[in-house]
């Protein structure tokens, strides 16, 4: 299966690649004319293909922003749907240029996989979804429950920690894909489905009767989700990092996809810097940030369109509000 394929690819790539050559991702992206981006196999709001096959979502927008910055065209992205298990191998082996797949930033992943996390595009936390008719009101009432879970996630570890911490027992039923996890939950194989809270809302829409399940109030972990690149290509790392920062900065300065053209002549020096003049340092053209904002929008626009009030998920900004509004989204200044 594809897991084995990507492992084989990784092994052969590692085995056959000449030692001295370190791949320049930007050059390879420019020469092939698109960004190869790893996304989920289908998670509404984050990365999901619509009826006509267009990928949409908060994670997808990061890929599009990088394409807009490097190639000047946000549509020049090719997507590789990956399960949680496949994602890191696909990136390590060079199958994809970047990974934007609701991936939690942890020490082990950052330090031992040969990868770099390029920022946080969604602050999440793990939660529980239960069937309404069980009458459970708190996660502390879940002693002895069977829990459906997707394999290869930090969720698996947090779950074990939480139940141990509270002296409770559980049975983990581990599935390969989020679709199978939902099916198992729906068929009654387990009492509880656990995942990042944002995903719970997304998965709930996939249920035949979304009203039959509720999300419990407890959040049991920190899950900072963000895009990931290979270690050892700092130029590319910077581009992905600052593409995301440009979106957050644009929201902070009130620059949107609608007013970006008029803002081009702004007297505000910070906005002027955002609009141009900094591209060369990243190895990009000067209109890199303009292209991102014009074609993808700022972070706030992307959020509302994909997971916020403009979407079926209706997730409030919460932790993901700008730092000025009591949230955690804070981008270093562009100067």
């Amino acid at each position: 299966m594809s897991k084995i394929t990507s492992t084989l690819l990784l092994s052969s790539a590692l085995a056959l690649a000449a030692n001295t050559v370190s791949a320049d991702t930007l050059d390879s992206v420019k020469s092939k004319g698109f960004v190869q981006c790893g996304v989920s196999t289908g998670l509404p709001g984050f990365s999901n293909a619509d009826k006509s096959g267009n990928w949409k979502g908060l994670d997808v927008d990061v890929c599009r922003a990088v394409a807009a910055a490097t190639l000047g065209d946000a549509s020049k992205v090719k997507f590789t749907p990956l399960t949680a298990k496949e994602r890191f191998t696909a990136l390590q082996s060079g199958e994809i240029d970047m990974l934007s797949r609701n991936t939690t930033w942890t020490l082990t992943r950052d330090a031992s996989l040969g990868l770099n996390f390029a920022g946080v595009n969604y602050y999440d936390g793990q939660g529980f979804m239960v069937k309404k008719n069980l009458g459970v009101k708190s996660a502390l009432e879940l002693d002895g429950a069977a829990v459906c879970i997707q394999s290869g996630t930090t969720t698996e570890l947090n779950l074990a920690d939480y139940f141990r911490e509270n002296g409770m027992k559980y049975k983990a039923i581990t599935y390969d894909t989020s679709d199978a996890t939902v099916k198992g939950f729906e068929a009654g194989r387990c009492d509880v489905l656990t995942s990042d809270q944002s995903q719970l809302y997304a998965l709930r829409i996939k249920l035949k009767d979304p009203k039959s399940a509720i999300v419990l109030p407890e959040v049991i972990s920190k899950e900072p989700l963000g895009p990931v690149v290979r270690q050892g290509d700092d130029k590319w790392f910077n581009i992905v990092k600052w593409s995301l920062f440009a979106m957050v900065n644009a929201e902070e300065m009130g620059v949107t996809s609608k007013n970006v053209d008029s803002m081009k002549n702004s007297k505000n020096p910070a906005i002027a810097r955002l609009m141009g003049g900094q591209g060369e340092k990243l190895g990009l053209s000067d209109d890199w940030s303009y292209n991102i904002i014009k074609q993808v929008g700022n972070y706030g626009e992307s959020f509302e369109r994909n997971v916020g009030m403009g979407s079926p998920l209706k997730i409030s900004r919460g932790l993901n509000a700008l730092w000025k509004k009591g949230g955690l989204q804070y981008a270093p200044p562009i100067r």
């Binding site: 492992t7 590692l14 890191f88 992943r109 394999s151």
Partner: protein, 395 residues
């Protein structure tokens, strides 16, 4: 009388034209080239992983795993190491493969014989079974059993009561668990003793039959010794065994034994799928024995059962066993599809979760491949030994 030397003694060819030297030279060359190739690959891989900052080595096996596993044959908690998850996964793979091989063999032999039956209905039913399940992809069958059949069972509170304390619901099959008390080990010893004694009886019976022609009911004696003896001991000792029944507590049944639906679905699918191939192998084996053999046996006065047991089956086995080995190997390797329904086998636990938590793809994949290779070679070795045992001894 002097003969010219040159005509008779062939002149020794130059050493590079000597076929023996040539063969040796090229073989050494090939081995050196292959060794160099492998060394370069391993060296290059390690070098590249180091330069990309990917951790290498097997130190991760001693780190705590921190995740739960649904079914474990040995005690396992989240605090155990990744090394232990490897063992848990391996045992789960061996469990499902072992059970699958036994059940598929039984189903296969019955169905293979049934397809040759003179009873029209039985033969057609067997043919229908074989043609249906042989031609549907295995993964689809696993999904079918898991989601469509076992998933459609009632929930815990409406469990089916199958009698004898057995409950069946969409969380699994709940069985009473036998708890041995003091003295139960004596019963187990009796089984062993009965078995060993019956071996001796068999040897003696054969000798007597060779000498006098008098048959002895060996099968019944064996049955009586291996089951009757322990049963008598069990009754004399006052039934040193009690049953723990599953009871509904909280979310689920507690106590007793649980067979998880993931195992059931996988086992059903593997058994039924591989059973079809074994059935065809058995049919081919039986058909390979010419009808003249049967007629000859009957003419000698053997009964139908004796003909089957002493003439047809021993000859059929020689044709059946080699392809049967392949089916066993297939079943073992196919058990890795477990991951699709969440059965915690080696691929799901070790090459899935453990790989993802540690990110050490090369080491873990190599270990997993080594395990499957070892299992396959072991099965092969055993089956080859058995094949030699039943093969025609040519004189």
């Amino acid at each position: 009388m002097s003969e010219p030397d040159s005509g008779l003694k062939p002149s020794k060819p130059a050493f590079w034209n000597d076929p023996k030297v040539r063969a040796l030279f090229f073989q050494v060359l090939l081995i050196v080239a292959l060794g160099y190739f492998l060394m370069t690959i391993v060296d290059n891989t390690l070098e590249n992983m180091r330069s990309r900052g990917i951790t290498t080595g097997f130190a991760f096996l001693d780190e705590p795993a921190g995740f739960g596993i649904l079914q474990s044959l040995i005690p396992y908690t989240e605090a155990n190491t990744y090394g232990r998850t490897f063992v848990v996964g391996l045992l789960n793979t061996l469990l499902v493969s072992g059970l699958g091989i036994v059940l598929a063999t039984i189903v296969g032999f019955i169905m293979g014989v049934a397809r040759l039956s003179h009873n029209w209905l039985i033969a057609k039913l067997a043919a229908l079974y074989i043609e249906t399940f042989r031609n549907v992809p295995l993964l689809l069958q696993i999904f079918f059993w898991y989601f469509a059949v076992l998933g459609a069972l009632p929930s815990v509170r409406q469990s089916l009561d199958l009698g004898l304390g057995i409950r069946f619901n969409n969380r699994g099959l709940y069985l009473p668990e036998p708890i041995p008390e003091n003295g139960f080990s004596i019963v187990l010893w009796m089984v062993l003793i009965g078995f060993v004694v019956s071996r001796f009886v068999k040897r003696w019976a054969r000798k007597r039959q060779d000498a006098t022609g008098q048959p002895f009911p060996v099968f019944l004696t064996t049955l009586g010794l291996t089951f009757g003896l322990p049963l008598i001991a069990f009754l004399i000792l006052g039934s040193p065994l009690h049953w723990e029944f599953p009871e509904l507590k909280g979310f689920n049944f507690k106590g007793g034994m649980t067979i998880i639906p993931e195992l059931l679905a996988l086992l059903l699918a593997l058994t039924i799928y591989t059973g079809t191939f074994i059935a065809e192998t058995v049919r081919a084996g039986i058909n390979s024995v010419s009808h003249g053999q049967t007629e000859a046996a009957l003419a000698l006065g053997l009964t139908r059962v004796q003909t089957l047991r002493l003439v047809i089956i021993p000859q059929a086995m020689r044709v059946i066993i080699p392809p049967l080995t392949s089916q066993y190997l297939n079943l073992t390797k196919n058990s890795s599809l477990a991951t699709a329904v969440g059965y915690p086998d080696l691929v799901a636990v070790f090459m899935g979760t453990t790989l993802n938590q540690t990110g050490q793809a090369v080491e873990i994949t190599a270990m997993t491949m080594a395990v499957y290779l070892t299992i396959s070679l072991t099965i092969s070795f055993f089956m080859n030994w058995y094949n030699k045992h039943v093969a025609l001894i040519e004189r």
